[in-house]
Symmetry: C2
Subunit: 244 residues, 2 copies
């Protein structure tokens, strides 16, 4: 049981849903019942349920209850609303991953790059090209720009390992928010050089802007995925009606 109570309740409920104890389409016990079961306050139960809603496990309806909408099929998604590094995802799904550094340089952001990345013009940056292999096959071509003043001692060797592990464990940097944009772009010569695309002439591109705990954007990365293996899943919740 985690230190935080609501997370404990959350994972217990999650497991009950996955195990079929609360079947799809049926109501969970009411909040009051759960309060008695877990011996906690109403807010704590509600917090746990809110997380399940975010995960697409249940949905709630005023005056009615909390309803399971779990379907076991979809649990194999590549990534969801959390930040997860390539290495972490591979680990979670039990696959074998390696990373190669194809280029490593230090540059200053010119006007065009500033517009593209969102860094102020003139910012001192590391430019990093990495290839991610999954089960021996190259599938992601990563173009990163990293604020040099946030990681002055970055080397090509470090970049070959887990960049996020280095930032978090070595530098004590806390990665908090990440803004992502998904697009589909024509494959470039560079893409074809690193990724075996076969018949495909496009790439699935995830553009990622990561912020550290001080609110500074320290990373801009274009992850150019082989289209055949790319998969992104999320759950949307309809907001209360747009008041006329």
């Amino acid at each position: 049981m985690p230190r935080q109570k609501f997370l404990g309740i959350y994972s217990v409920l999650k497991e009950r849903i996955e195990s079929g104890e609360y079947p799809t389409g049926q109501l969970l016990p009411s909040e009051n019942t759960l309060i008695a079961q877990f011996d906690c306050s109403r807010n704590t139960v509600r917090r746990a349920i809110a997380e399940l809603v975010r995960d697409g496990y249940v949905q709630t309806r005023q005056g009615w209850g909390v309803c399971s909408i779990f379907h076991p099929i979809e649990q194999t998604s590549y990534t969801m609303g959390t930040i997860e590094s390539f290495r972490e995802t591979a680990l979670r799904t039990g696959q074998k991953s390696t990373t190669r550094v194809a280029a490593f340089s230090r540059i200053q952001a010119d006007e065009a790059l500033a517009r593209q990345t969102g860094f102020p013009a003139g910012t001192d940056l590391f430019c990093l090209w990495r290839i991610h292999d999954l089960n021996g096959k190259p599938i992601i071509f990563n173009i990163s720009y990293l604020r040099a003043d946030c990681m002055p001692d970055l080397t090509r060797e470090i970049a070959a390992g887990s960049l996020y592990r280095y930032l978090e464990e070595e530098l004590g940097m806390v990665i908090v928010t990440s803004k992502r944009t998904i697009t589909v772009e024509p494959a470039t010569d560079l893409d074809r050089q690193y990724i075996q695309l076969g018949e495909y002439n496009c790439m699935a591109v995830v553009t990622n802007q990561a912020y550290n705990s001080q609110g500074i954007m320290f990373e801009y990365t274009q992850s150019r995925h082989h289209p055949a293996i790319f998969r992104f899943q999320d759950n949307a919740i309809r907001r209360p009606a747009p008041k006329v």
Copy 2:
């Protein structure tokens, strides 16, 4: 001011951030200050801030404060973590949209379709092909399967209008949750028949499973987008470290 207090505070803070009153990289007033300003409880302020975090406007850090990470550039996204119909999106971005029905039929889900869509085998379904034009150009090919028992009187004519408006306003159905998956797939002959792809040989595919307020999945839709106009944006928040 909306009926709900936290939404009012949310939109006031949002506007202050957008207007530059709380510049990017700086801290917002502390919770206690905001409590005094809005004359409300701590929970209410925190709820409003939580929404801003979800929107990627701010990030919070214990012991430090709430920090603006707003960048005005990115506000043109095609869609975000909410459910929005094609028509609503077009309206919001001020574009001209039309919808054509290319096919309309009534079928029963066989085993293969059941596996693909998640409907139980044998379910009575409407099958609907629609083409969405934006500013006169066809850009989305929509393949929908709809539970017939949720909308027995659906006709081709109704489908040509806004399907969601019909479901919500005419049938009083409330759309709550939607599970989306984004992939990239090779363009089919059918795709090419309806969408002018030019050099592209792929489509950006958004697979959507929509649930009504009773927790019943009533819609499965494959939205096959022209890759050049497809854009999906979201904000990820790093969960507290995976407890080892």
